[in-house]
Amino acid sequence: GGIITQTPKFLIGQEGQKLTLKCQQNFNHDTMYWYRQDSGKGLRLIYYSITENDLQKGDLSEGYDASREKKSSFSLTVTSAQKNEMAVFLCASTKMRTKNTEVFFGKGTRLTVV
């Protein structure tokens, strides 16, 4: 088995601040994802990466940057935190298969902007 580690678990930022969230996986998976989860809105894809140094925009990429310097790590930057923003950011990874592909998630980073 493997594990996805997200740091920090809790992040409190100030309006306008640039904030970075980190994710590490030891599954040796090729593809990694960043999702945002808001109450009542489900999970929305921010960025994903199919291999080292690759970046693909999701539906919610505006206001975010991402970086995949190594296969095992994928970081997300909130370029300018919005006041009163509260959300959970979830990192995930997978190894594509023809069938029964499974995506695995980290425990999340909870962001609060004051």
């Binding site: 009542g40 999970l43 594509m96 069938k99 592909t101 499974e102 998630f105």
Partner: protein, 110 residues
């Protein structure tokens, strides 16, 4: 883009009752996965079932790909089953981007 509708939005049961959760999707999916999320917790993969019927423990998933629907049956529910159940679908390929439904919130009372 792809859309995923889950029903019911919420479900309340007494311990021991069975639960039937539905997932309908707007376009052909060659990958489908069910997840469980405990209150305040992260997503845990329950099973991957893009077609046919699959069992694991008290869970049974049936996916009818041509009809773009999947169900998750939980037998003999327990209070520890309480939480949110999410369905995610996508198409196989290098750019695999799972699309999630909003989930079914399940509460099981003792």
């Amino acid at each position: 883009g792809q859309q995923v509708q889950q029903s019911p939005a919420s479900l309340v049961l007494q311990e021991g009752e069975n639960a039937e959760l539905q997932c309908n999707f707007s376009s052909t999916a060659t990958q489908l996965q069910w997840f469980y999320q405990s209150p305040g917790g992260s997503l845990v993969s329950l099973l991957s079932n893009p077609s046919g019927t699959k069992h694991t423990g008290r869970l049974t998933s049936t996916t009818v790909t041509k009809e773009r629907r999947s169900s998750l049956h939980i037998s003999s529910s327990q209070t520890t089953d309480s939480g949110t159940y999410l369905c995610a679908i996508g198409a196989s390929g290098g750019n695999y981007k799972p699309t999630f439904g909003k989930g079914t919130s399940l509460v099981v009372h003792p």
